[in-house]
Amino acid sequence: MSKRALVTGACGFTGSNLVEHLLREKWEVVATDLKADAHGEYYCVDGDLHPMHYGSELLEGMGVTYIPGDLTKKETLLPLFAKGSYDVVFHVASLYDYFAQWDVLYRVNVTGTRNIAELALENKVGRFVHWSTDGVYGEPKTLPGNEDAPYDPPNLYSKSKVEQEKILWQMHREKGFPITILRPAPIYGPRHRYGVYHILYGVEKIGLGAIISWFPKKHTLMFPSVHVLDLVRAASFVSDKPQAVGQAYNVLSDCIPQPEFMEFVYRSVGTEPIFHLPVWWPLYKLFTKVIRPFMVWQDKRARKLGTRPKIDIPMVDYITHQYWFSNQKIKDLGFKFIYQDPRKGIWEYIGWCKERGLL
């Protein structure tokens, strides 16, 4: 008998990939997401970049049951459990937008998670696999950061993910709620449009690498990322492991040094850097400290004009912070990455984007 899953955020980038994966593994899938016309209530303006959300048309013909719902309104989630409980609830839905204000992030990510988790608990689901982020750690003190690193969220989005986790850990401790938390690095892959895509898009649009190929001389910053296929495989994998209950797992490819990653990106998109310039670390930090106020100014100006900047402020932090995390725990559980070296996945993703005129 096939296992029954509920996927929240099923019309988004990760959710839709998860639905496809579960169907390939012969799961019975119930999918939920906002109605397309409700997106505007939570998502910020798109600016000039490509839109980053999709509609339920994405699920058409896939063979899933689609029930629209709004996480922030608990009563709209009741029909999801009308035909019984689930072996696994994959709670993917989240407002992943660095431009979003705290009140909206709290409503969707924190209140929304509490609502779906309470219903899942009441309906005695077999497992609640929750999507968090490795952003909950901020910059880990010991490298590479593992799952025991303390919370230190560097931005509002990550802060909202910490709040989500706290609610779930409490439910696990006090009521035995069977949770497994995944903490993925920035995700990329088919249908991805926000985050890693901005790096590739920016390199292509700026059209040169010389400025970005400034890199600190003796302070190698690492680049964390995960291909969506590895992530959804990991979700399905942990949902089947009894020892994964009450555990959190970092899900990411092996981190590679940022200069190596950028070099690969330049060559892959066809904009080779003119020269490489290793920079003394304090000077590099100073350079990026100058950029940040500019980004803040851009952010304020964009809000005033009812649009958004091309690069959100937290994205700049990636070029000055050491976001280096370990994937050893999930490997020890027996999970094998297809894209252990992220270059393989990035290469495929660039091809996907180029075919569609996104790069």
Binding site: D48, G207, L208, K310, E355
Partner: protein
Amino acid sequence: MQISIYDAPAVLLIGYFFALIYAKILSPKHPNAYFFFGVGITLVFWLNILLAHWGIMDLWGGLLPSTEVNPWIGVFYVLSIPMWLNWGAERAFQTHGRTPSQGGLRWIIGLKDTTKPFTPTWKESDK
């Protein structure tokens, strides 16, 4: 040897503005225009200096002031003309991009994206 000190800045500016026109308008349909224009402009500047050197005419017909320099410096200056042209052009490419789809460093500063979208490498009908 007679040279015009205005040649280097002039060729730099010409390179900059031509590169801008090339990047935004000419590059999709005339990808070789940049090369031919560069060679043409260099030849014009060199020819002007040669004709003045042979005494056939004054530098730029006497419209611009000229300076007498050591012949070695003069030769070096003359040979550097394509380099100034290319340097000006590269600054334009960095600032504004190399194709209509690129925006150079200006792209990241502005809020409005004025660049053209990228072209997909296949169409639905190609599948």
